[in-house]
């Protein structure tokens, strides 16, 4: 989606003049992109009519070219539909009930929410009422251990209401109670009744629907029917790290007027973010958000000794490279961060460097001299042999490390250039910063 949206923008910048034909063409491209991202079809049609109308009728603001204006219209319409409001998580004492169909990721989301809030100082516990899925109780128990929060529930009780009644008292001393509910294949009467009972007994402050990012046109109906039956206060979009673009989930939220609260971005418990509409749309459109990049890098820097500024200022050495890899492991695929730069994508090979590889790289680098670490270009034939012997790793691996270092260095050069990007692209950036 990202790449394609950039092509559309390029099409606008390349075009001689902005006329009806161009607008039509662009709108058609955007339609295809949105539909491939599972955005609701009716919404896509509404959006394209809006863009066309605005492009035709809106007066050109002073000091802005027709092309820039068109991009601004597109950006604005997309933000409205896909972005919505950024979520501001509440930090007071409250109760969250999670609902959703089979396999959407409810229980994992439970663990992620628990980790998110307990890290921020709320005394959190999980109560599970899922009696349907085989071994559901064990699953929540194990997740609770992982994120270090207590889990309440009963293994052999078959009635969710009984479980809730028996355990609700135990949750009294907690700031945040997260309640997991059972899923079904579809929202049938049985499930609705069950959750309604849970709702009236629990009196949750928030009811979040968990939707997978790969779900298609069914999303809208799913969100609507859950909303009608239960009154949702938010949506959590899961599995956004896979091919699913969450278009279904996002348009469902727009139509049902429910905010997206969190998105889940990977399979580890910390792969969980507050939904930030601006960030999401800028990622979607392939426009850089340097502020976000720096913030994310800084967070990772706190945990490792990596300073993102080193990348741009200091001479790039193997040491910085290693720290960068380390930080990357901590902040999740750096690829996303570079994608935010809208310029270069991190080579896949580097993003996926495994934990074991990281260990052997550390051994290899420990066997290098200070001079070699500072100036890896000097490492050739005999030195490679020596380093391999010293670290107990094969020569091929030493070469691999050097090659990856080179790759990363080259890419960094590109990014440094990109930072000073001016001209049309830079001006567009300014427009967005000022206008949005």
């Amino acid at each position: 989606m990202l790449g394609k949206m950039k092509e559309v923008l390029a099409k606008i910048t390349r075009a001689g003049t902005v006329d009806d034909a161009l607008v039509k063409d662009i709108v058609r491209d955007i339609q295809r992109i949105l539909i491939s991202s599972d955005v609701n079809i009716e919404l896509v049609q509404k959006l394209s009519r809006e863009i066309e109308a605005k492009a035709r009728e809106e007066k050109l603001p002073p000091g802005i070219s027709r092309k820039e204006h068109l991009i601004k219209i597109i950006y604005g319409s997309l933000t409205e539909i896909l972005g919505g409001e950024s979520h501001n998580p509440r930090m007071d004492k409250h109760k969250i009930l999670l609902v959703g169909l089979f396999g959407s990721g409810k229980t994992t989301a439970c663990g992620k929410l628990a980790k998110f809030y307990s890290k921020r100082g709320l005394k959190t516990c999980i109560l599970t009422t899922d009696v349907w899925r085989p071994a559901a109780y064990d699953q929540v128990k194990q997740i609770g251990q992982q994120v270090k929060v207590p889990v309440f529930g009963e293994d052999n009780e078959k009635n969710p209401i009984t479980i809730l009644k028996n355990n609700l008292d135990k949750t009294k001393g907690y700031d945040l109670v997260i309640v997991d509910s059972a899923g079904r294949d579809s929202l049938n009467k049985e499930l609705t009744d069950e959750i309604k009972q849970i709702k009236s007994l629990l009196k949750p402050d928030e009811i979040y629907l968990v939707i997978s990012a790969d779900i298609g046109q069914t999303a809208v109906k799913q969100a609507q029917s859950f909303n009608e039956a239960l009154g949702l206060t938010g949506v959590i979009a899961t599995k956004t790290d896979a091919s699913g673009k969450a278009g279904g989930a996002l348009s469902a939220c727009y139509i049902a007027k429910i905010p997206v609260t969190f998105i889940s971005t990977g399979e580890k418990m910390e792969d969980f973010e507050i939904f930030d509409s601006k960030k999401f749309v800028s990622r979607l459109l392939g426009f850089p958000d340097l502020g976000e990049l720096l913030k994310k890098a800084q967070e990772a820097a706190e945990e490792s000794e990596f300073s993102p500024e080193d990348l741009l200022k200091e001479e790039y050495t193997l040491k910085t490279f290693y720290k960068q890899l380390e930080a990357m492991k901590k902040m999740g695929p750096l690829k996303k961060v570079f994608e935010m730069l809208g310029l270069a994508a991190m080579p896949e090979e580097l993003v996926q460097t495994s934990e074991e590889k990281m260990k052997s790289y550390k051994f290899i680098m420990d066997s290098m001299t200070k001079k070699e670490l500072g100036d890896p270009d000097t490492i050739k034939g005999d030195r490679i042999k020596r380093i391999a012997k010293g670290s107990g790793r094969p020569e091929t691996e030493v070469r691999e490390l050097l090659r990856q270092f080179d790759m990363s260095k080259k890419m960094l050069k590109k990014i440094k250039k990109g930072k000073r990007l001016t001209g049309q692209f830079g001006q567009l950036m300014k427009q967005f910063k000022g206008g949005m």
């Binding site: 169909l101 990721g105 085989p134 699953q139 929540v140 294949d185 790969d214 298609g216 399979e267």
Partner: protein, 328 residues
Amino acid sequence: MFDFLKKKIGGFFKKEEETLTEVVEKPVSEHRAIEPKLTIATKLKKAIVRKAVIKEEDVHIMLEDFNLALLEADVAVSVADKITDDIKKRLVGKELSGKDDVKKVSESAIRESLRDVLKQEKVDFVSRVSHKKPFVILFLGPNGHGKTSTIGKVARYLQKNSLSSVIAAADTFRAASIEQVEKIAGRVGVKVIKQTYGSDPAAVCFDAVKYAEAHKVDVVLIDTAGRSELNTNLMEQLKKIVRVAKPDMKVYIGEALAGNAALEEAKKFNEMIGLDGIIMTKVDCDVKGGSLLSVSHVVKKPVLFITTGQELDNIMQFDEDWFIEKVI
């Protein structure tokens, strides 16, 4: 089941028919006026007087509508385009005479195109599985699409066909995955071979195959962890499982709820691992059903089963003719 797809495709014919009636009821002079919107129906009306050949512009609007109908039914964009193109090729240039039934002409074009997308060599699952002992089946796919539940259903299906099976609990990552598979296996009454969480899934598979050989079990069913198709490390792990377990059949589990991502997911798994068959799950949900077409199209391997409910017996063999009859 597949009602939405039927509504979309079926409703489409109704529209064509209405146009036909409308045209028939109007005097000739009037139907000239609507000529810019020519459909096959109007073309046919003309053809009653003389023979007519379907031109591209005749079917343009109809095909655009049809394309949209497919997209609304969650068929991935590229597959919807392919099907629409294919129908166009079948229709454009076709000679119509007064005797031809418009509905039949376009219906058969659509029917053929769908069959083209779905057509794969027929697999008689039971006889294929009986071919070798133990026959090793690897189940793989994205998170939450229903691998573990499906394995229970397949085990039950095999049992009904007098084939014994053992399940390898090779999802050593997700919390309580092993307990889940054990509970499901307990319901069916088959053995589970397991190790501890975090252990090497390939080793679990190896143990399961060895167990099956020693105890003369007919089929080994391998339950792998769900994974994001974009995570190279996890895909490498899957490759390792394939190298060690040497499965005779690699089955992709995809859910019918998925939209366009269904195509990308299945494509990546197919490229990396090489799939031999598909099982489509959650078909009983309120689904649009189009992802079945997408997945089948990219993987180009037969859809072996669809699962249609939460009970162990809710699994049925898939048949493309049945599917086409269901949606047209």
